[in-house]
């Protein structure tokens, strides 16, 4: 059923990076996407480098200026950290709809971003949250924004021998965030379309900055800067929000071949999600 592979289990970053330089090597974390692709023969990695035994890559660090998520942090780890879910409810909302209990125990945040799926549950809020990706490779550590890291479906900026070690999310004063998706069922399914909203300086409209991202509409979750500008620094009325909703979908051309939702559906839903999330975050004028 599975093609032959060599299974390797590094214990240091250096060793992991050397192993990932082997011809055709692939990093393995939770494996919840990779094993499905191997079974379907979409991927036939001759070398599997299991990163789960690297120390220090699992856990959630709460700092003054940021929150750092180790790459091996699982979806369940997110749900069980009440300080994290209180500070960044968007991540809780993503975790709650993520697959099923057993997959949440195993799937990692590093894997979710490195897999670079256009509708990945965590990638969408993390892009809106200005998250940075921390990378280790033959040249040592480096970091870049998640937006720049994601290049297309399944494509990232990772070079040979490199792997994700963590994500860091900058914290700003008076920050609020929310994530919502539509799927075909309320049970286990991938997002048909999703939206994340982040507000910095949320309670003072004049100084407020709104950040957005969407899932399953473009090759990577985009940052619609024009719409963000429309919604930032102003009092949010129903008219303005409706206008921004139209501006949000106007440049979008989701692929018609999606199994989960038609382009028409996605474009009809996004303005509604935008209004609902702004309401839920208590950012709308009465």
């Amino acid at each position: 059923m599975l093609e032959p592979y060599r299974y390797l289990r590094p214990t240091t970053l250096q060793e992991a990076s050397e192993m990932l330089c082997l011809q055709g090597a692939m990093a393995l974390a939770g494996g919840t996407d990779l094993l499905v692709e191997m079974r379907e023969r979409k991927r036939k990695p001759p070398v599997m480098v299991d990163l789960k035994h690297l120390t220090g890559l699992r856990g959630i660090e709460h700092n003054q200026a940021n929150i750092r998520l180790g790459a091996l942090t699982t979806v369940t780890d997110v749900l069980e950290d009440s300080r994290l879910t209180a500070r960044l409810p968007a991540l809780k909302q993503a975790a709650e709809v993520f697959a099923c209990c057993e997959i949440r125990h195993r799937a990692t945040l590093g894997g979710n971003v490195a897999n670079a799926s256009p509708g990945a549950e965590f990638t969408v809020p993390l892009v809106a949250l200005d998250a940075a990706v921390e990378i280790w490779g033959p040249e040592g550590p480096r970091a870049m924004t998640l937006s720049n890291f994601l290049l297309g479906p399944g494509q990232t900026d990772l070079e040979t021998g490199e792997f994700v070690t963590g994500l860091s999310i900058p914290l700003t004063p008076d920050m609020r965030c929310a994530y919502r998706r539509k799927a075909r069922t309320r049970g286990m399914d991938l997002a048909a379309v999703s939206l994340a909203v982040v507000a910095h300086g949320a309670s003072r409209p004049e100084e407020r900055r709104i950040c957005l991202s969407m899932g399953a509409v473009e090759r990577v979750p985009p940052r619609p800067s024009r719409v963000e500008a429309m919604l930032s620094g102003v009092r949010l009325t129903r008219e303005l929000t409706a206008h921004a909703g139209q501006a949000l979908i106007e440049p979008l051309a989701p692929r018609a071949s999606s199994l989960r939702a038609s382009p028409t559906y996605k474009k009809a839903v996004l303005p509604v999600l935008l209004r609902r999330l702004l309401e839920e975050l208590d950012l709308m004028e009465a």
């Binding site: 592979y5 494996g31 099923c100 209990c101 195993r106």
Partner: protein, 152 residues
Amino acid sequence: MLEIKINGRDYRFDPDEPRTLLQLLREEAGLTGTKHGCGNGECGVCTVLLDGVATRSCLVLAQEAHGCEVITIEGLAGPEGELDPVQQAFVDTGAVQCGFCAPGMIMAVHGLLRRHPHPTRDQVAAATSGHLCRCTGYEDVFEAVALAVEEK
């Protein structure tokens, strides 16, 4: 060698054979109580405890389990074959119909009770919602978990 403790017993397997933990359990350890359903992590029938955590064994390479402890449905009953409280509760409430989802469902409940010994209804729903039961016996599963918690 690939060393895995399964249901309290130490096993050694070929370290190079490409296969999932599910295949190893069924075909090499002969433990066919763990079922093979979709093979894609979507149905839940292959659920086992891996180091105490409910895990879909079809989404784990056999090699990933090296040095780990696995508990399958065969590992729950006592030495005389007496059912464990969760199994007994499934029988008593009739939460088993055709029975194909039961091994995965029971292991999922064990995983839940290790984390939350007194789960809320929402927690039971979250732990079992990824388990497909086509006899639609879900309500009985809630009753079984409530009974198992009482009996434990």
